[in-house]
Symmetry: C2
Subunit: 190 residues, 2 copies
C-alpha cells in the first residue's frame, strides 16, 4: 500500500469518527484537514470533491460495519447462534471507541432520509441489504414463520438498536444495555 492509499484510508477513518459525532453534514473540509495536520487541498487531492469523499465515506462505513458486525458472526450457525453474536457485535459496534458518537450509519440515516441524492441512495442500499441479511437469519430461526412475521422481527431488531443509541447517548441511561438485551430476549424468546 502506497503512501497515498494510506493517507486516503486515514482520512476516511478520521471522517468516520467525526460523522459519528457531528453527522455527515457536520464534518467539513477544514475540520478534517486540521484534525489530520493536513491542508484542505491536501485532503481534496484524494477525492475529486466533497461529495465524492462523502460517497467514499459511506462505502468505508459499510465495509467497517461488515467487518466488525457480520464477519465475526459468520462462523456461527445460522439462526439463533448467529443472531446472538450479531446482536452482541452490533451493540459493540455502537459502543466502539473508534466511533465516539455511536453508529455513524444511524447518524447518516436520520440526516439523509429526506434528502434525495446519491448519498441517500447509497445509504439506503446499505440498510436494505442489512435488513435482508437479518431476515435470512430470522428465517433460519423460525422456518415456519411467514414473510410478514419475519419482517416484523427485523423491524423490531432495528428498533431495539435505535432505541439503544438514543437511550445511551441522549438520555445517558446507564441501563441502556440491560434494556436492549431484555428487549432482545423478549424478541428471540428464552
Amino acid at each position: 500500500m502506497g503512501k497515498g492509499e494510506d493517507t486516503r484510508a486515514r482520512i476516511l477513518d478520521e471522517a468516520m469518527r467525526q460523522v459519528s459525532v457531528r453527522g455527515m453534514t457536520g464534518v467539513s473540509l477544514g475540520d478534517l484537514a486540521a484534525a489530520m495536520n493536513l491542508s484542505k487541498s491536501g485532503v481534496l487531492k484524494h477525492f475529486q470533491s466533497m461529495e465524492t469523499l462523502q460517497l467514499a465515506l459511506l462505502d468505508a462505513m459499510t465495509d467497517r460495519f461488515v467487518a466488525e458486525v457480520w464477519k465475526p458472526a459468520e462462523p456461527f450457525a445460522p439462526g439463533r447462534e448467529r443472531l446472538e453474536k450479531l446482536f452482541e457485535r452490533e451493540l459493540a459496534w455502537n459502543d466502539s471507541e473508534n466511533l465516539p458518537g455511536g453508529c455513524p450509519l444511524t447518524s447518516a440515516a436520520t440526516e439523509l432520509d429526506d434528502q434525495p441524492g446519491p448519498l441517500r441512495d447509497k445509504l439506503k442500499d446499505n440498510r436494505v441489504r442489512w435488513g435482508r441479511t437479518l431476515k435470512r437469519e430470522f428465517r433460519a430461526l423460525r422456518p415456519e414463520a411467514d414473510d410478514a412475521t419475519l419482517e416484523t422481527l427485523v423491524f423490531q431488531w432495528k428498533g431495539i438498536l435505535l432505541a439503544y443509541g438514543h437511550s445511551k447517548r441522549l438520555l445517558d441511561d446507564e441501563s441502556a444495555r440491560a434494556q436492549a438485551t431484555a428487549a432482545y430476549r423478549m424478541l428471540i424468546g428464552g
Copy 2:
C-alpha cells in the same frame, strides 16, 4: 396577539418544518428568512441570536408534541385505552404534513446526542419527561410489573417509533405502518 408575536410564531413554525427535513444544524438564518419573505435581520429581531432561536424552537417542538400527541389521548382512561390513542397519535405526528421530514425531535436527538450544551440539555429534558409519562401509562396497564419491566416496555415503545421513521423515510417501506402496529400488538398484547 400583536404582529410581532405572530411573526415570531410563524418563524418557529417554518423552522420546525425545516428541522424535520434538514436537521437542527441544517436550518440557516438565510434559508429561514428567504422562506418567510423576510430579511435575515428581520428574523433575528425576534431572537437575540441563532442559538436563542434554536432554544425557542425546541420549546415550540415540545409544545406541539404535547398538543398533538398527549392532549388528544388525555381524556382516555389510563393504561390500555390511553396507550392505544397515544400510539396512534405518535404515528400521526410522525406523518404530519406540517412536518415533511417526520418527527423533528428525532432529527434533533440523533444530531445533538453527542454535542454538550444547552440545546442538548433541553432536548434531553423533553425526552426524559416523555419517557416518564409513558412509564406511568405502562404502570396503569400492568400494575403488577416491576420497574425494570416497565422501563423495558418504554424502551421498546421508543424503538418501534424510531424504526417506524427509519423504515418509512429512509427505506421507503410501504408496510412501515403495518409493521409498527404489529410490533405494538406484540408489545401490548392482544
